[in-house]
Amino acid sequence: MKSLLLGNEALAQGSIDAGLSGVYAYPGTPSTEITEYIQKSKLAKELNIHTTWSVNEKTAMEAALGMSYVGKRSMVVMKHVGLNVASDVFMNMAVSGVNGGLVVVVADDPSMHSSQNEQDSRFYGKFAMIPILEPSNQQEAYDSMLYAFDLSEEVKLPVLLRMVTRLSHSRAGIVLRKRRGPNDINLPTDTSRFALLPMNARKQFDLLVNKQDALIEYSEKSNLNSLKKGKNRGVGILACGIAHNYVMENIGDEETDYSILKISQYPLPKEKVKALYDHCDEILVVEDGYPIVEELLHNYFDEDDKIKGKLSGDLPRTGELNPNIVGRSLGLFQNKMAPIPSVVTPRPPQLCEGCGHTDLFNAINELIPVIGDKNVFGDIGCYALGALPPLGTINTLIDMGASITMAKGAADAGLENAIAVIGDSTFTHSGMTGLLDAVYENTPITVIISDNSAVAMTGAQESTAVGRLHKICLGIGVHPDHLKTIVPLKKNHEENVEILRNELKYKGVSVIISERPCVRLSRDQKEQIKARIAALN
């Protein structure tokens, strides 16, 4: 029987069955379930596959590269903005190449269901000049993993596998195949390619550039890219990844007249694209994300007006695609649907009942009339919801760790009473280095680490910060007199406001650790956290 799996889970099972030795990741919607699936897999445990969360995407990717260096297959998983964090190693490991197969799985979030932007990771793949796979459905996500590892080992490059939210978070029945074993340890014959001194890096970069034709050849031959020429020589459709489903939903699979080029592997197979171009009067490029393929087609061909897509205005430039949008662009869907009845009111997400963040924000809000309402710099996590009414405490939310460094910059510019609010896991992910910047100059900022002992927003995964925050802050150089702990509970409200008021008066770096476990933690999780803290002492 078929296995019922989320796109993310299908991909994860595919990686296990392809002989994975380790997955490295930091949680981030919509990518989280990939790593969680392997963590929960009995088979993965028996096979001794590494599954522990990393501190951030950069450390994760570097560890994956280390595993590949010794010849084993590794995978690194993140959401799209995580690739920004890991981009240093990402760009450079394309130059060094890999040894054991290495697959970088990035889940993009068109429409920003749970993200700050809708950047398209295919640009990164193109930037690094490595192969990109973009499965169109769950079965293909599963099957692509074996192919991705093989391709990575054949061309000695990391392979980027791009997912999107709708594929990551949709289930289907999957046919599984036989599993193969992991690689043995097999160190690289020549390690100089991993030592990217200029003289080695130049050689490697030449090699990478010279591999490009071969990569296109792989794309031409790949089963993932298929051209179907139809009788209709009007509009030819070039559909990428999940967009192919939306096209097929509209035109149906049987006996269609349309010519369709399905793309799930890059670099683009130029010959196939040209064949479609020559066969049809115009080409509609349907891609979820940025108009990257559409732009490329403008580079390939002279007749600009033959190419339609997001740049031409035939498809919306922002937001995710869906069957209706694609149907309209093909002129196949015009029905006007009933509107949402006006009686319906919005129901935005909000902090859980009894959440410690709420009590913390209530304490900060007491001081807003004194310090001003634009002084609180926020960060990425559940507590970002503190930017919304009725709390309205937080003013900024940019990227992991930016609360501390933005507060510092604002304080440098003369803003008094600058407050940073950052979660425990976000702090260890990207806040520690910024705190050192502030400590180094003793910048007058008040950093509040809202410590709920979990990566809560993504489903209460383990936080590497648990039990370590005090020592980390002291180690970074925060003055012990200005390292405070509060427990955000209603009964402590007055006391907490006083501590906050006093630390705001201090003209240097203060850190207040606001400590209360996430209300969504299970009893088991709370026990595990206690045990982890006990083991530290």
């Binding site: 019922l4 919509p30 949709s170 869906n322 069957p323 209706n324 009933a338 009686v343 997400p349 909000q350």
Partner: protein, 199 residues
């Protein structure tokens, strides 16, 4: 056969359990299934929905196109109405009557019901009340599934099997309770003539 169902509610209300029962039952009957769901920020007390598509042929889109849903099954009345643009002309609305109020501008309950009643094919079930009366308000979702089962083209046997499979790691008592909730919900459907006629 091609059935599109939208499940709706508020994050944490248990629509994914309904989805899991439908998925499992469909696979048991060797049908194709696609079921999209919401993870991440919206799950925190926000509006959530799941698109369930069941067919005897390959399914392409993970999302149901607007105007193509045969059924909107909601565990909350306002969340039912949020997805009206997806409803087929002769599609069905099935909802719990119990509002989940976590916003300051939640509409009047009667206004919601009035809007729902504009659609000829609707069933408003006191699912939470029924669930309470048999012992646990949490099984309201299985009450609703029981009611809606009359218009879902999956066999009752496979739905009941799926419930058993899904709760197999829980106690015998919990399995029984869920099966009972399903049966109670099904009774509600029996009283509605046009629902029975549809089947």
């Amino acid at each position: 056969m091609n059935t599109n169902i939208i499940l709706s509610g508020v994050g944490g209300q248990g629509i994914l359990t309904i989805a899991a029962v439908l998925d499992t039952a469909a696979l048991n009957q060797d049908l194709f299934i696609k079921q999209s769901e919401v993870h991440g920020m919206s799950q925190r007390g926000g509006a959530v929905q799941s698109h369930v598509r069941i067919s005897d042929k390959e399914i392409f889109s993970d999302l149901i196109p607007e105007g193509k849903a045969d059924l909107i099954l909601s565990v909350e009345p306002m969340e039912l109405l949020r997805y009206i643009p997806f409803l087929k002309k002769d599609g069905w609305l099935v909802t719990d009557s119990e509002p989940f109020i976590n916003t300051s501008n939640y509409p009047e309950k009667d206004d919601l019901f009035e809007e729902i009643k504009k659609h000829p094919n609707h069933v408003i079930v006191d699912a939470t009340q029924i669930a309470k009366s048999i012992g646990n308000s949490k099984v309201a979702n299985m009450v609703l599934l029981g009611t809606a089962s009359a218009i879902i083209p999956l066999s009752e046997d496979s739905l009941l099997e799926a419930i058993k499979t899904l709760f197999q790691h829980k106690s015998e008592k919990i399995i029984k309770l869920n099966l009972e909730a399903f049966a109670e919900g099904k009774k509600v459907a029996e009283g509605i003539t046009n629902l029975a006629a549809n089947q």
